[in-house]
Symmetry: C2
Subunit: 438 residues, 2 copies
């Protein structure tokens, strides 16, 4: 096997948290027990959060094959250096914190207004959004939970099936989801909007039950489908007719190559029904730097007419204290003309990776979705459990993917393959897959 | 009035979010209303979060007196530059993100293990805590909310009165608090543990009702009281006897000058009853950089024997994605021998500020608490509403403080005065106060 230094094993072999099971949870615990009941919502969560679970499998594999060169196409983790115009801005901000003039303490909880305005200008031009409607976060995943705190337990929720697991899991944590039903692998109170090749990865809204909240991710993680303008128009009309709020996740918008909208606010009327969450993670390689944003339009109001933005502002002030000012300085540099252009090159690089991956699986006679408007390929292995496919690929090729069922029951028979990675790793992965499957 | 360039007015005059009240909430709204009910818990919150409210008052004052030189001793915002050994480490980390070798994507959600171990070693030496029990956060306030998500609505809660408002407000948001009762200015289901000069700012536990959760902050914000070893021993015994969990906030531990414990884990048995939250904000000037941590010992278990650490790990993985890796690099530098020493000088500087503030108010014949083991002086104005005192000081001296009642009904008649600020501002504040009150 050729050597591919895609992932230092030392990282994988770091000790993970080990539960002291001998001392607890076995009915014969010796120490003090509190009388605090465990949150029933936490009890209701099924297994671990998907991505740490994948990481655990990786680590076990590395222990089993210490000499193998692992290629990680699982967790969508960016691999390419951040353009130095951006890191220089962050370094400069950091250095300035050592000077009397440049030192800054607390910023506004909602984020630096210059950055909020730049986001409004760059991503929402001609959509009528203002800086004060943009809230800077430390990432879309974090704001999903803050939105769930905002909404509370008394909400009905719909999710695409398959979709990014944080929607469902956060819904369970705040108590919206009801019991997990093993026979369907669904939570009782969550409406699963099935997205398959048969319906063009867009749910049949004519048979979808009304919910308060509709989580919708486009380009979808994991299927890679970018909803068209017509589809999103349907979605907005559906929400309007039902009095629902869409929480639209556009974290992968930078990967759209076709005419699909990059924001829900391209659709007329969306300002009255939609919140949008987004992120610098996949667009700027900020997965570790941590920066994102959430848009809450002023027109979005609860049934009593109270503006959602006012409550979200309160949540941001009480439960958050703003993103790191260094990360925010980096965010501003991302949106400068030179920064933005440099980032487009990086996105282009990952898109070429995606094409290699799509071509590889197609050459093996498999049906592949995604990979054109998203950094993920969604590969169908008909009749085969997705965890089995995941395990087989890992065992035989030392490539980490993600089993589709981790994204919901609708992901069964699929695996998600990430296009984030150094080109040599992607090419090596392609060779290994072709060797194994042909 | 002498000129004191403590705070650039431009920052205060930034446009704040303005609610479009003409279009909503007046019963005659023209646009689309969703049919999503507003979260009753959000409805139950009283007024805005304290600190943005103070900021609003400041801004109004600046508009009224555009030429006045405002001195902000309100929000506890650090003012002194961060030692350059620390900012250099952050800048270096940022620069490295532009290199193939130095680029890092997602880190572990729980934080960089080197930093977790360094925190265990520096702050919890000889207390038997391990790196895996330390979870790196983006600040203590953020983790208060994550802990509330962990605990859920079905919890009874006690708070010190007065105390940092995030405990109470987050408790309201997750639905633990019950209705606000205007006659007592208390939430129905929260137990307020009164802390006054009469009881040495330590609650009378013999008359305190049993709750699942006890929020306890030492050194206390706002009173500045650092609980003694004997007091904390009482608290741990009380929690143990009641099967309660203490959430201990040690964000100001670096300011302790006497023999008071800097961590709850100095008390035998605390590992079985206490979570500790803490922060780099006030210790390292990281208020804008955003870095903190939470300790969840393995021995801490729910009534069914299930380890709390397991659920908190799940929350951190699902609702958070780790603190910024640049901030974490800074955190590691803070804990290097040179970094730590440099930070102690900064803390010493603020402590000298605190002494000036305490001496000033004492010279005016007022009773002053705090300021010795904490960066806050707690000043008693007998018989006078704390908002009136706040308003009078702001109007007459252009000094921003915080009205004690913002920290709970027990803070009435007091103001909190922050010692964070440049020395010239503190001295100027002292002069203005002496001029006005004598």
């Amino acid at each position: 096997m050729s050597s591919c230094i895609c992932i230092p094993h030392a990282i994988l072999l770091q000790p993970k948290t080990i539960w002291n099971s001998s001392k607890s949870n076995n009915g014969r615990r010796l120490g003090h027990c509190t009388e605090v009941p465990r949150n029933v919502n936490m009890e209701n969560l099924q297994s671990g959060y998907l991505f740490p679970e994948i990481f655990k499998r990786e680590s076990e594999h590395v222990r089993k094959y210490p000499d193998a060169s692992l290629i990680r196409l699982g967790i969508g983790d960016t691999s390419e250096p951040i353009p130095d115009i951006i890191t220089s801005a962050m370094a400069e901000h950091a250095f300035a914190l050592s000077t009397v003039k440049g030192y800054k303490g607390y910023g506004e909880e909602q984020g630096n207004m210059a950055l909020r305005k730049a986001i409004a200008e760059i991503f929402y031009k001609d959509m009528g959004l203002k800086g004060n409607e943009i809230f800077i976060s430390d990432g879309a995943q974090c704001d999903i939970s803050r939105l769930q705190m905002l909404l509370g337990s008394n909400m009905t929720v719909a999710v695409q099936d398959p979709s990014f697991p944080a929607y469902t899991d956060s819904s369970v944590i705040v108590g919206q989801a009801g019991k997990f039903q093993p026979e369907t692998e669904k939570y009782k109170n969550i409406v699963y909007m099935n997205c398959t090749p048969e319906n063009g990865f867009f749910p049949d809204l004519s048979t979808t039950s009304r919910t308060n909240i509709i989580f919708f991710c486009s380009p979808n993680n994991p299927t890679g489908h970018a909803a068209s303008w017509q589809q999103l128009k349907q979605l907005v009309e559906f929400a309007k007719a039902n009095g629902s709020i869409i929480i639209y996740d556009s974290a992968y918008a930078a990967y759209i190559s076709n005419a699909s909208p990059r924001s829900i606010y391209e659709i007329p009327g969306a300002r009255e029904v939609a919140i949008e969450i987004s992120s610098f993670s996949k667009f700027a390689g900020f997965t570790g730097v941590r920066l994102g944003w959430t848009v809450v339009p002023e027109e979005l109001v609860y049934s009593n007419g109270y503006p959602v933005i006012k409550d979200f502002d309160r949540i941001v002030c009480t439960c958050f204290n703003g993103a790191s000012n260094i990360a925010q300085a980096g965010g501003l540099a991302c949106l400068s003309p030179d920064g933005y252009q440099a980032l487009n090159s990086v996105v282009g690089y990952y898109k070429e990776n995606a094409k290699i991956i799509v071509d590889t699986f197609e050459s093996l006679g498999l049906k592949v979705y995604g990979g054109k408007n998203a950094p993920y390929a969604w590969v169908h292995f008909p009749g085969k459990s997705s965890w089995d496919t995941f395990a087989e690929i890992l065992e035989k090729t030392h490539i980490v993917t993600i089993p589709g069922s981790g994204f919901g029951p609708g992901g069964e028979e699929y695996i998600r393959v990430s296009a984030f990675g150094q080109r040599e790793c992607i090419l090596e992965a392609s060779r290994r897959l072709k060797n194994f499957y042909t």
